[in-house]
Symmetry: D2
Subunit: 118 residues, 4 copies
């Protein structure tokens, strides 16, 4: 995990250790915590139209930014616990998706993509 994510992981690990919370951070529990935060993220958007979701205003944007931060924090902790390089894994996964969804077959068709995903 390079650069800025690495620095965040150091700070998150220190935070957990000072509170003796590392004992609770099994991959299973971190996955739950991440999904719980993803649920909170949904709650900000669930009754908005797509258009409204693109212009939240400063106060709501800040609240959503903090949800994104919580998700990134658990993602970083989980990657560290599993010894996964988040950036490398994402580059690898994007390369897979570039193969899986050829431009000429899926262009403009998100539903087609959803079927491919199955």
């Amino acid at each position: 995990m390079p650069d800025s994510l690495d620095a965040l992981n150091g700070r998150l690990l220190k935070f957990a250790r000072e509170r003796d919370w590392e004992q609770f951070q099994s991959p299973k529990n971190l996955a739950m915590a991440l999904a719980g935060e993803a649920g909170e993220l949904l709650e900000h958007f669930q009754w908005l139209t797509e258009q409204q979701s693109a212009s939240l205003g400063p106060e709501k944007t800040r609240a959503v930014a903090h949800e994104l931060a919580d998700i990134l924090s658990y993602l970083i902790r989980l990657a560290e616990r599993l010894d996964v390089d988040l950036i490398a894994a994402t580059e690898e996964k994007i390369a897979i998706n570039e193969q899986r969804y050829p431009v000429d077959r899926v262009r403009g068709d998100a539903r087609r993509a959803a079927e491919y995903e199955r």
Copy 2:
């Protein structure tokens, strides 16, 4: 969004634009996609003990790494759509949590933390 996340965003944006998928990537939809991936992450861990979740083996670790990659990808896209600096937002949120969970009051007590969160 600095450095490696910035590079990933560029690649993800190019991926979406080549497929004419940017039109589907409203913040609302990206939040749903992120939460859907978080659900897939859970499925890897739901029947494992905490201990088993900490030693997955190479094949399962790679599968989980790809789920983490999917989550990070949607997180990066969402941050870009909302004009949020992911790293700065995470630093800010960690600082808030350092205040919110004072070491001497929550040490070793994850449930206490959960109550604070409410």
Copy 3:
């Protein structure tokens, strides 16, 4: 848990016992499994407009119906494990919501409701 839910719980319990899977069905694990299925539900809808989501066609409706079934199954199992009467709890919660969201204050305003929820 009355009537039809009660019958489903009996069948689900028999299913789990015959496979010796009851040992995995701790409330924690069942909550994860339920949330995992909720993630699958999202994936059916994430790239659709709201309007498209209201007219899925028979094949997709059946796939979604099976996700709803999975969610209901875990919900029933979880309620049984925690000795919760699902129907009574839902009646109680609706009564609370009727108080919490007075008609004259929230009429036509879903965002207002979202703020109340915080």
Copy 4:
């Protein structure tokens, strides 16, 4: 949707209509709301051991019961919007699972089941 679920749907629909909220209850939005509640459910369990999750105490059980109620409420609304019979769909899905996971092949092995699910 028979009996008690039917009665709950009537009450939930009246609740929504009195507040002019039915307009927000597209299947897409209801799926998000359901998944958001599933996220809240996770938060109750994420730092507990499996054993702790099985003996929550009365106060926490009541809080979890209300999360289950929220999930059931959105499930019922979603089924109604999609014209799905929840009970029949669940019976059908259980029958499929009985075929998919033959007792003699998956007995005592939850991980095997997870692989089948893929």
